[in-house]
Symmetry: C2
Subunit: 424 residues, 2 copies
């Protein structure tokens, strides 16, 4: 994505040695990027550094060479490992003083829990000269805002639940006003049932024209197992212009992608399915084998899902398929547990037993073991006994490892429900 001309440039530095291990990524910067983009601030670079005072100070100095705004997260704790305050003050040549008001707040926080504040927490009351203190209702570390010439430096705590509300508050109160001109607006089209290359083939001739529009709409494709996303973004002075541009782009893409687009408003597939069930007053039950509870788990990620999910069955054994979903044992013997007749019997059986409108049956081989030449790993039969029509059943061959097969199987089952409910 091109840099928005005229907008402010930001850099984000995440501090913490754990973020330099092979097992951790910095995710705070994603939230910060989203919020900064929304006020028209372009993130030009990000850096991650350990608990290393000297290196952090050097990175701060370098960042202020090219950024109008520097956001530093983490390293504001009370221990010696927490170097952010000191490194930033060294880089900006600012003295620090102890702020008794901050220390009093931290003391009250401990006392409210019947605890005595350890002396080490006094470090969290150190404030660089001229800095604005940002209150932290969710932890002991206050944030800090420092004006450095025509640049801004913001220090935020590392834990997301402390960082996010503090940032949101800062954007509402100070940063929003500080950032002039264009804001970046986004919209995401989510697509199921098509591969990335399918989507690219259909969408590319359409979105390649958006770049010539006024304002130009940028498009990025992101692919995950079972789900393709088209991320649209536009820089505009106001929401009305942006909405019009994004609306037109969304409309043009939805026209060529048709019913495969399941969401243009940020909702997940399970939310879309839940909303369709709620709107039509329908209830659902699921009997899933190789997905092992993933479909039910995703449906119940959505608050209020108890209104439409009556029950789920993880029928890992044949016995449970027979006893709980009423699949005839002879059917399993005749066709094997992974077969369309068994998926169909699961869907019909769970629908009848639960006395609901829609039954879903899924059976497959997630791997790595259990495959055969006729039914290789990735073979999954999914059946949907809908509210009115006959049972839909289909066999899929998903590629990838166990996790990818299960993810795609659950996604496909949810998408079958969506398509039946939206008559597509």
């Amino acid at each position: 994505m091109a840099h928005v001309s005229g907008g402010r440039r930001a850099e984000i530095i995440a501090v913490g040695s754990e973020l330099l291990t092979p097992s951790r990524v910095d995710t705070n910067s994603l939230h910060i990027t989203e919020r900064l983009n929304a006020i028209g601030v372009h993130v030009a670079a990000k850096a991650i550094v350990g608990d290393d005072r000297q290196l952090l100070a050097a990175l701060v100095t370098q960042a202020l060479d090219h950024a109008d705004l520097l956001v530093v997260t983490g390293g504001l704790g009370p221990t010696d490992d927490d170097v952010t305050r000191e490194a930033v003050c060294a880089a900006l040549s600012l003295p620090m003083h102890e702020d008794e008001a901050i220390i009093a707040v931290i003391q009250r926080r401990f006392e409210a829990r019947g605890l005595h504040m350890p002396d080490v927490n006094r470090r969290q009351g150190q404030v660089p000269e001229g800095a604005v203190v940002l209150g932290n209702p969710h932890g002991t570390a206050p944030g800090l805002l420092i004006q450095h010439g025509d640049r801004l430096v913001v220090l935020l705590p590392g834990p997301p639940r402390e960082m996010r509300p503090m940032l949101d508050d800062l954007i509402a109160t100070r940063l929003g006003a500080w950032s002039p001109g264009l804001r970046i607006y986004r919209r995401v089209l989510r697509i199921a049932g098509r591969t990335e290359s399918h989507v690219e083939e259909l969408a590319q001739p359409v979105y390649s024209r958006f770049a010539q529009d006024d304002p130009p709409v940028q498009t990025t494709i992101l692919a995950a197992p079972g789900q393709i996303e088209l991320h649209l973004s536009v820089s505009a002075a106001g929401g009305a212009v942006a909405d019009a541009a994004l609306g037109a782009a969304t409309g043009a893409l939805t026209e060529v992608l048709g019913p495969y687009v399941f969401s243009t408003d940020g909702r997940s597939l399970e939310q879309v399915v839940g909303d369709l069930l709620s709107a039509r007053g329908l209830r659902l039950a699921i009997a899933e084998s190789c997905t092992g509870g993933l479909i039910a788990k995703r449906l119940t990620d959505v608050p209020g899902s108890s209104a439409y999910l009556e029950r789920g069955l993880v029928c890992y054994s044949n016995r449970s398929k027979v006893e709980v979903a009423g699949v005839p044992a002879a059917l399993i013997d005749a066709h094997g547990a992974v077969s369309e007749p068994v998926a169909e019997a699961l869907a019909l059986g769970i629908r009848a037993r639960a006395a609901v409108d829609i039954g879903v049956g899924l059976t497959g081989i997630a791997g790595p073991g259990g495959g055969s030449e006729a039914k290789p790993v990735g073979t999954v039969a999914i059946a949907l006994a809908g509210p009115t029509d006959a049972v839909r059943v289909r066999t899929f061959r998903f590629h990838g490892d166990r996790d990818q097969v299960r993810t795609q199987a659950a996604q496909t089952a949810l998408d079958m429900i969506r398509r039946v409910l939206s008559d597509r």
Copy 2:
């Protein structure tokens, strides 16, 4: 984690504007970190920058101020957006020339697919003076290795399937020999059933001594809902010395943390539970309400779990609790669905219906709605009807949002199974 004295220092720069959007993280650096750590190279910092020639050149110059090795990924494609070669040459003041041998390889790659090489791909044949060309069997972009004084600069393609084998080859052939002496070895202790501050209180007096050991063992605490991890690392010349140091540290920590440590060998809680069930030849069934299938999903993430998970029930409705798990309706009326008697009846009922050794019953309020003064959001009753003893049942009050409550509830249920199976 402190910088390993004597070891080489690396910095990693990931190039690509898509890595500066709110929806993408750089994951290449995790693989690179793991491989570099294994040969004793410490990653001191990481940076992410867009397709911005000038800024990338500045970051390269800055990185070489403090790093012995700079690894740059991405930006080696054929288009104008691919700025890595030029930015690095600008930073190092190196001229480039076109290498006909590289272009011939790319041409053959296109011809093998019956395609003509577009002219733009000639850019991928540009080689900085003195650079070693790293072959790319999986794509068109060759990698480059540049010796710059006593520093090394490595340019690798962005796509993981091209980058990883190239890096592995480079480590086997050149980087391994370049990095002297010590390698970094790691071990992770995973803990359930204790908060971070509990773990810190017990572990800190023990691990603070490790820093004085020879070789010193570094310890980092990472906290996630329901799980605390202690990451130990040591720099040593060989595996035997490292194993001894990590083994001693693990032993000392396990002694103070006792049965709360569930894994010291990288296994997840669901793997540990699965291995215990397999070893004892026991089978399990689950009736879970507010976790909505999450417990079954996690157990079945493990290949081979069909050997011990007989069935799972997501009993979202009272009717399903009665019909599938045999909970007396009067019990629900008397105590409410979220209660210890109902959890107990779920565990006993599902154990009897599934004819297995262990039954788990879980019922709770995940929120955001459905809470009351007596039973606020986060209230979860978990019962375990074990292979021999009486039913264990306990009510928990988990904090956090819906996702956090569900995560902690599932983790706690799995940990109850583990503790019963390991007689702790």
